[in-house]
Symmetry: C2
Subunit: 121 residues, 2 copies
């Protein structure tokens, strides 16, 4: 009965997929709704190719869903609660000597989930 082993591998694969700064920001970016590749790339100041590669990975494990409209591909979170679950992880990051001195965990949490600083509109 190696189910336990199997589950630990599945979980590890999921966490590995999430364990990249760009992908985390992308998920956070999709928190409020769908967005197309170019939109994500601009919001996060990343090359569109990289965003596309990340999206392919997220898509492969069904974390995002795609909708095509003309030449644009819109992506949305398959599980909207994923973003909230990720924010919950902040309680486990080691605060000492990380995050510039004086920053409080709650302010960081608020900032992370805050609306992006409107790169364009």
């Amino acid at each position: 009965m190696p189910s336990r082993l199997i589950v630990s591998r599945e979980l590890a694969d999921l966490l590995k997929l999430l364990a990249h700064p760009d992908r985390l920001r992308m998920i956070e970016e999709l928190r409020l709704g769908e967005k197309d590749v170019t939109g994500i790339a601009e919001a996060l100041a990343l090359p569109a190719t990289r965003v596309s590669q990340h999206l392919a990975q997220l898509r492969a494990q069904r974390l995002v869903e795609e909708r095509r409209d003309g030449r644009s591909h819109f992506y949305r979170l398959a599980h909207p609660q994923l973003a909230a679950w990720i924010v919950d992880a902040l309680q486990f990051v080691d605060i000492r000597n990380r995050l510039d001195e004086g920053e409080h965990i709650d302010s960081v949490r608020a900032l992370w989930s805050a609306q992006a600083p409107n790169t364009s509109h």
Copy 2:
């Protein structure tokens, strides 16, 4: 204000640390209380050296705390709620064609958190 970038990197580091089947099982193993290196190694059928290496990583990011008693080093979760948070991630793993057909998410969840099958006592 690159705080957002910094936070995404911190989160990614944390998830990267968790994204290993052995380490996930170790954390689950510590869910109910402290255990020494040999105890963990036996319960999970892993070489003690590997367990020690994993523990060093978890320790470095303060996810586990150490207590020494004689020659044994007992480890415990720094944040007991971490184990529950990890179990929550099961809702995001893609079920199709993973987990042997017919297995239900709830049964997997129960199995994962169930007491280990007593390898020895």
